[in-house]
């Protein structure tokens, strides 16, 4: 008699695949253990900079995105030297870059300041896209399914929005975005209204990056949860004999469909993050 088999835990499986870890999992071939460093203590704050799975995929995404864009840039430069338009892969990547630059960055920030912020918006787009796509690869992980990564990107976006606004509007102009002057109000009423609006304005500034971080994180994680949960059904009903094959086939078909959906979501969420960052930068640049 064999020992009773432990019931399959979908939650454990889902968190195992979506959570961060100090190892790279290449099941069934094995795992690679990542080094663990001593955490840094800054007062009560403990900072562990040990590389994790998400750090590795973060770096991999950056290296892959840079390499692919550099190859495209080389192809474009070669085509330019030969006096022709780039074709194939270089042409496709050029279309992506030009779309993000013109239709997202410059269209929302403006012709004057748009080109200055375009590299940041383009870097956001390609970095996030690559991280999203890596989560769909076998043995892959999506760092954008981790709130720390999306929060860091949102903080960068927030800093660019606010510092860029301060540089453009000047200190007085920037303070006007926190303490707004209400048109038509004068005297003590205007002061009271301005002071009353200040918390709302500060809150609206903070909500933007929070929304950016939560939206990207939520969308990417939810997709992985759906896929992994559907996979979990296969294991849950694995003991049903012949029925399990039918359930497996149906589940695999649904998972395939969701994977296609996730592919679209990967592009869409990169686009949304880049677009909203550009819109927020543009709004601040044109604030009066």
């Amino acid at each position: 008699m064999s020992a009773p088999q432990e019931p399959f835990d979908i939650a454990e499986m889902v968190f195992h695949h979506t959570g961060d870890a100090h190892q790279l999992d290449f099941a069934p071939f094995g795992t690679i253990q990542l080094p663990q460093w001593q955490p840094i203590h800054l007062g009560s704050l403990v900072i562990d900079l040990s590389p994790t799975r998400h750090v590795v995929f973060l770096m991999l995404a950056a290296v892959l995105a840079y390499t692919l864009l550099q190859i495209a840039a080389n192809g474009i430069a070669k085509a330019r030297r030969e006096g022709r338009a780039p074709g194939g892969y270089a042409g496709m990547m050029e279309a992506f870059v030009v779309f993000v630059r013109n239709e997202i960055a410059i269209a929302n920030i403006g012709k004057e300041m748009g080109p200055r912020y375009a590299p940041l918006i383009m870097a956001f787009f390609f970095f996030i896209l690559m991280m999203n796509l890596l989560g769909l690869m076998p043995w892959g992980a999506s760092p954008t399914g981790n709130l720390a990564v999306t929060a860091a990107l949102a903080v960068m976006s927030f800093l660019v929005i606010e510092i860029g606004g301060m540089v453009k509007l000047g200190f007085k102009g920037y303070m006007g975005t926190i303490f707004p002057h209400i048109e038509g109000l004068h005297g003590p009423g205007a002061v009271v209204m301005t002071m009353a609006m200040a918390p709302i304005e500060i809150l609206s500034k903070l909500v933007k990056p929070i929304a950016l971080a939560i939206r990207l994180f939520g969308n990417m994680l939810a997709g992985h949860f759906v896929i992994l949960s559907l996979f979990g059904i296969v294991f849950l009903f694995g003991s049903l004999g012949m029925w399990s094959y039918g359930i497996g086939a149906v589940t695999a078909s649904v998972v395939l469909g969701v994977m296609f959906l996730e592919l679209i979501v990967a592009f869409l969420q990169a686009y949304v993050f880049a677009l909203l960052s550009a819109v927020f930068i543009g709004l601040m640049q044109h604030e009066h």
Binding site: D48, A62, L69, V149
Partner: protein, 178 residues
């Protein structure tokens, strides 16, 4: 039921995705900022410049094409004007030639008619002159014959001049009376 999941920890004691770590937060900056710098330095300028150059070249070609088209339209209008002018001139020449021909024909007819009339008048005048001369001749012959006859009858020589005058007056009265 979901609450324990939200606080569950990942593998190796690491928190699940809902509880972010400061280390990964910092790593994101460490990875993204050099990525942004490298792209801004080596990749995007190449792509943007190539695109801008191509856009400029296309814009120039379009401008050239517009200019050429405008020139062609100008030349076409000019050619049309010249053609219309040439056609008008040709029509003028034809009309003038036709008028000249008509004038010449009318003049020729007129001249012919005049000459004809002149010839007719002259012929009439000549006929009239001839007839008058013939009549005068006949009359003189008749007078001479009458005088000669009268001389024979009278038997003496008469004054030819006075007789002639007398006979002629008589003949005139005869013609008038007739």
């Amino acid at each position: 039921m979901m609450l324990p999941l939200l606080y569950a920890t990942g593998e190796g004691g690491l928190p699940a995705p809902f509880s972010p770590t400061i280390g990964l937060f910092i790593w994101t900056f460490v990875v993204f900022l050099p990525f942004l710098w490298l792209l801004s330095k080596f990749v995007f300028p190449v792509i943007v410049k190539a695109t801008a150059d191509r856009e400029a070249a296309i814009a120039k070609q379009l401008a050239d094409a517009d200019k050429t088209r405008a020139d062609a339209a100008g030349y076409l209008a000019e050619q049309r004007e010249l053609l219309a002018a040439a056609r008008g001139e040709a029509q003028g020449i034809v009309a003038e030639a036709r008028q000249a021909g008509d004038r010449e024909r009318i003049a020729a007819i007129e001249r012919t008619r005049t000459e004809q009339d002149e010839l007719l008048a002259r012929a009439k005048r000549e006929i009239q002159g001839e007839r008058e001369r013939a009549i005068s001749e006949i009359r003189r012959e008749a007078v001479d014959l009458a005088i000669a006859a009268a001389g024979k009858v009278v038997g003496q020589r008469l004054d030819p001049a006075a007789d002639r005058k007398l006979v002629e007056e008589y003949i005139t009265t005869l013609r008038t009376g007739a």
